[in-house]
Symmetry: C2
Subunit: 569 residues, 2 copies
């Protein structure tokens, strides 16, 4: 990542994430490091099943990997301010990153990734098979504030990522470009492969290495999709191709995800993906289509966890640079930004629309609390749930419509999920229009807690997943998590997913699920659960959570890294 | 085009446009044809410098051509209803299109284009060089309502498009596909070339013909860009490449524009474009990027006028299928949908971002009325214009910021254009954020005349046109037309263009242009003109306009076809 526009000089460090691992790594004495950061997670806008930082400003997820049952998450972090503009942190792990930089200049660490060097290809780990290597960008800034070269560097960890040593021969990829950043490394065959953004040349560079130290440029993947004003945070991941009906793995492909901002169609930040083949040096797409990972606009810079077998798992930054530094959680509660829920991805060939990445919600079962409602055949009726007394304020909702003859649905055939505040009259609207083009929509325009000219109110999607299916009694399915100031919906089992920030002036406490004008034979099932707060369990008697300590902490303290830290892939 | 979803069986006819030419072409006796349709164009939401139909529902522009000083515009039209759903019109030009169709089935005419067969390649025009041929889709529907084959057909006109003869050997391109439509024909070398959509296969078919009767498939342009749920209304046009600074023509390329709906990133309908080379049979893109013609969501199915030399000229349908049939102009004033302003297009290579189609506003000079304000150096001040007494209710606004050092602009450096209703407190907001990523935004969320879950409130764009320019004292420029219920903005001289429908509950009558926090040296010029209504001049003493008669009418009566019918290319 790079901070946008006029904020260029004030950057977050990849190593900022190390604070979340309880490691003292910072040179700026004004920033509290090496000690846990305590905070209160009870604010009415504070998500309870999404990760958010204890205080201050967070952005991109970085260095994500899975090892020995733990999902590791680092992130860009400014604990002393509510915007990226206050960040002044540098990499200082064992050897300072900037020791070769003249004192009047500055060198920061930008986003990157982590791999597990199980076979000690790097030589850093002669006595272990769980060595961890971080690969990240060093960004030089000149004394006059202009951008200097961005280069790629590594650091290594003998303790599964809790402490790092800076490699003494960095950078491992030199460059004169001031927009060359965000390396993501995977294992391919007997080598390492990296994708990295030539951000303002609209190219993804592909490099290979035998040892994570010596890198060779192999190819560029250039000018694909929506350009925005720059490319950022490319990812590459191997993904199973599953038969849509049986779920069986029938093939495998690679996916490049590519974030771009500013300049997304919906404004600001967007992430797109490309499906193709990868031979370790070159990526070739199956077609020239541009596909988006999210139908709303609050999911950026997602990264896939290294080391996950089977369906890849990713998380993104649940925000958008257009308003990330203005959202009211800052002034109201002292923090800004959360991560998305983890998503589990695979490829399939949908009828007619063809190649599609399906992003399923990670199994929510471990965080389900009380069942609040359950109807198996609601008909053209409704279910109302007053959840004002649910401590987390967070819900999980599933609704399914089956047995519907699409041809008999009308433009009035709807299934709506509405979350309201009786106190203020505000409402978050969402739902299916089952006739016509079957779109799903989310409308946050009825909430009044945030006025910003870039905070778009409405999002929608045309779900053609079932078009052309032999079974005309198609099923519509929505799975939704409402988490105070975050709404995440998964439509058609993940055929579409949307991440939506929301800022009501009063808490939303009343859910209505209502079906209307469905044709005869349509069957509607609805189930609603309270969600258990993952933060409440970490709080002491005063309600204080030590929000970014996981090193050597008991397993329970890791749960917040994703909403259920102990889950397995 | 095709009507979405459940409306499939009720389609508008290409020949509907003939009504706008004063031609009696319809077989449905319930539809008033052959006589002008009279209407009142004074409603508070009725655009005064955009084309809208006298009554009922209009959609795609069709068959656009320029000949002997006149721009001809046909369109999809239902004069008896306020949505596409009521349309029951068939092609009936000389020979009925459906004479070979069993009476229990139906055949409609879908969108298409027109060419001038100056050299009589068709043989239809032995004695003239201004013969006109329409090329369009015949869409068969089975007795059970399911879609039958869509094929391509032609009709020819000896009187410059005012009356047509149906070709007696139609279709000229046969097919068994039920989603094969919207042919657009151009002249290429010594042959005709057609692009036509295989809508649900996400392919643009390219055909060639020596005579407009015999067509040979040449290639497909497949799976490019945003797929949506189907492709519609492809266009192909030769376009000059101009040097960005001098404006000189340095090259020429071809552009394919391609509409897709539903499923656009902003919801519903979207138009994208691809830049490349065309040899008469194959189109190859300069890159794999996806570029959009409009940063808002109310511009669909645009078509380029045949026969324009130099910079091509196009117009689009200023709406979106998500709400086109629900907008309040229907119930309030008895009409729905307008066309966009004409745009004049060329290609250029912008700094860093590279290949770009620039869409300039067609010179508004002929419709400018009184100058309402003019400041050449406003500084960090403002200009307020009360235009309640401007009869058209329509304004043209130009604002320019020059001499600004981008590095010194902050995130508070703004230039805002706000149109307000003092009576209701509503406001349409728009403007530049000159610091940071320099986006331009439009926010219609402060207007309360229309509540629809798909009517997105906010649009924005990141203008990187000047990034990297040698001259850091870059110029920001916006040209805006507010036309009662339509707002069209051209940013950076057309580097970005946005078409925005708007529905205030009370007329907007107060404009404020305000600059804030611009750094020293910044120079702001603002000019505001009233616009002359093109409809007022056509009204009789009772205010009635015969809104769709142009054949044999005096020149003045053609002016509404575009906002100045007599302009030359």
């Amino acid at each position: 990542m790079q901070f946008p526009g006029s904020l260029l000089l004030s950057v977050a460090a990849f190593a900022g994430a190390a604070a979340a691992q309880g490691v003292s790594t910072y040179v700026n004495p004004a920033v509290p490091t090496g000690t846990p950061i305590a905070a209160n997670y009870t604010g009415p806008l504070r998500p309870q099943v999404h990760y958010s930082p204890p205080k201050g400003f967070m952005n991109d997820p970085n260095g994500m990997f899975y090892l020995n049952g733990v999902f590791h998450l680092y992130y860009q972090y400014n604990p002393t301010g509510l915007g990226a503009g206050n960040q002044q942190r540098r990499l200082h792990v064992g050897e300072p990153a900037d020791r070769a930089v003249p004192p009047e200049e500055r060198q920061y660490v930008f986003s990157g990734s982590v791999v597990v060097d199980a076979n000690n290809t790097s030589g850093f780990f002669p006595n272990q098979n769980n060595g961890v290597v971080a690969v990240f960008t060093l960004a030089r800034y000149n004394a006059d504030g202009s951008g200097g070269p961005q280069t790629q560097a590594i650091a290594y960890s003998h303790d599964e990522g809790y402490t790092f040593q800076y490699y003494d021969q960095n950078p491992v990829i030199n460059s004169t470009s001031s927009h060359f950043r965000d390396p993501k490394v995977i294992r391919h065959g007997d080598a390492w492969a990296m994708v990295v953004a030539y951000a303002q040349e609209f190219a993804v560079g592909i490099f290979t290495s035998p040892d994570l130290k010596q890198w060779t440029w192999a190819s560029n993947f250039t000018n694909h999709g929506l350009l925005g004003a720059q490319y950022e945070c490319p990812n590459i991941v191997k993904m199973p191709v599953r038969d849509r009906d049986s779920g069986a793995v029938v093939d495998e492909k690679y996916v490049i995800t590519l974030s771009a901002q500013p300049g997304a169609p919906l404004g600001g930040s967007v992430t797109q993906y490309f499906i193709g083949d990868f031979n370790g040096t070159h990526f070739s797409t199956v077609d020239a289509a541009t596909r988006l990972t999210d139908f709303a606009k609050d999911n950026y810079a997602a990264q896939f966890f290294y080391g996950v077998e089977g369906n890849p798992i990713s998380m993104g930054w649940a925000s958008n640079w257009q308003y990330a530094q203005q959202v009211p959680t800052g002034n109201n509660e002292g923090w800004r930004s959360a991560m998305t829920l983890p998503r589990v991805s695979y490829l399939t060939k949908a009828p007619r629309i063809g190649w599609t990445m399906v992003d399923e919600i990670y199994d929510p079962e471990p965080i389900l609390g009380d069942s609040l409602a359950s109807k198996t055949d609601m008909g053209n009726g409704s279910v109302t749930v007053d959840y004002a007394d649910v401590a987390s304020g967070a819900l999980y909702v599933e609704a399914n419509v089956t047995g519907i003859d699409v041809a008999k649905a009308t433009s009035f055939s709807t299934l709506n999920l509405t979350f309201a505040s009786p106190a203020s009259g505000e409402a978050l609207r969402s739902g299916f229009y089952l006739g016509g083009d079957n779109p799903f929509f989310v409308d946050r325009g009825g909430l009044r807690g945030f006025d910003n000219v870039f905070f778009t109110d409405k999002f929608s999607v045309a779900d053609v997943y079932y078009d052309g299916a032999a079974d005309k009694s198609a099923a519509w399915r929505v799975q939704a998590v409402l988490d105070r100031s975050l709404y995440e919906v998964f439509v058609g089992g993940g055929r579409h997913a949307g991440t939506v920030l929301l800022y009501p002036s009063q808490p939303l406490t009343l859910l209505t699920v209502a079906a209307r004008d469905l044709p005869p034979g349509a069957k509607v099932s609805v189930a609603v659960w309270a969600l258990k707060s993952t933060w409440a369990g970490l709080a002491d008697e005063q309600g204080t959570v030590v929000g970014n300590v996981t090193a050597k902490a008991p397993a329970a303290a890791r749960r917040h890294m994703v909403y259920e830290g102990e889950f397995s892939a």
